[in-house]
């Protein structure tokens, strides 16, 4: 388990660096696919089988197919031909990243995981079934957020159709 986690964590960090650093958008997209699949494996390790399936279907499936499709359609140039570089942007970015990561680390070490423990131990979840327990929570305790999200999806669909149909002058 620990060895597996270390392997997947290293894979996650490498592919995330690929998403940030590759020069060609198709390489970024493929690195992001790898990153999302690795994340799905981490969800399995965390006993979240439903999230695993949703991650693979929605993210690695739908969202990334959309990205790759758009890249194939537009054939966007790499950053090299985007015009004059400002220079120094990576230095500022990495300085920001170090400070941000240090803040996150300090917060994590000082705060710890202090929430109240709930009733859903892995044994309870696995006795009912992962999808069943998540579905029950979705449609009882979290009914209102689910409905709001469905309205959001509707608005997104309407907006996408509007943007696709409208002609730009």
């Amino acid at each position: 388990m620990v060895v597996g986690f270390a392997l997947v964590a290293a894979w996650e960090l490498v592919t995330a660096a690929g998403v940030v650093a590759f020069r060609r958008p198709i390489h970024n997209a493929l690195a992001l696919v790898g990153n999302m699949l690795g994340l799905a494996v981490l969800f399995l390790m965390l006993n979240a089988q439903f999230l695993f399936a949703a991650q693979v279907i929605v993210y690695a499936g739908a969202v990334m197919v959309l990205f790759v499709f758009i890249i194939a359609l537009m054939n966007p140039v790499s950053d090299i031909t985007l015009g004059p570089a400002r220079g120094g942007e990576w230095i500022y970015g990495i300085v920001f990243g170090v400070i941000f990561a240090a803040l996150l680390g300090v917060l994590l070490v000082n705060q710890g995981l202090t929430g109240r423990s709930g009733p859903f131990t892995p044994e309870v979840i696995n006795a009912v079934g992962n999808v069943q327990s998540v579905g029950t929570a979705l449609y009882t305790k979290f009914l209102f957020p689910v409905e709001v999200t469905s309205v959001l999806l509707l608005i997104a669909a309407v907006g996408a159709v509007y943007l696709a149909v409208r002609r730009i002058r």
Partner: protein, 101 residues
């Protein structure tokens, strides 16, 4: 518990930081979007880890909602990017400053 919770949270923080760096540094709007996805994924990992180690399902449910919102966001964002591309503008987030005028 073989893997302690804070390792998952540290990994999540590292992924989020890398996504934030990419969001600030990169200039291709598609890659900027991918970095946003990276950050959302990192938050999902934190949700799932906290949910697992506090024996709760709330984090899993909210990670699912985050996935939904991310899908909606990608649809609209890519539609806008395609419109900008069809308008013949340069694909550079620094060059897209029409709203300033």
């Amino acid at each position: 518990m073989p893997v302690p919770a804070y390792t998952f949270l540290l990994l999540s923080g590292a992924l989020f930081t890398m996504g934030a760096i990419g969001f600030l540094v990169r200039r291709n709007p598609l890659v900027v979007f991918m970095c946003i996805e990276l950050m959302l994924n990192a938050v999902n990992l934190a949700f799932a880890a906290i949910s697992r180690y506090l024996n709760s399902l709330d984090g899993v449910v909210f990670a699912f909602l985050v996935i939904t919102v991310a899908a909606a966001e990608v649809v609209v964002g890519i539609a806008i990017i395609v419109q900008v591309y069809r308008a013949g503008r340069q694909m550079d987030v620094d060059g897209l400053d029409l709203m300033k005028e």
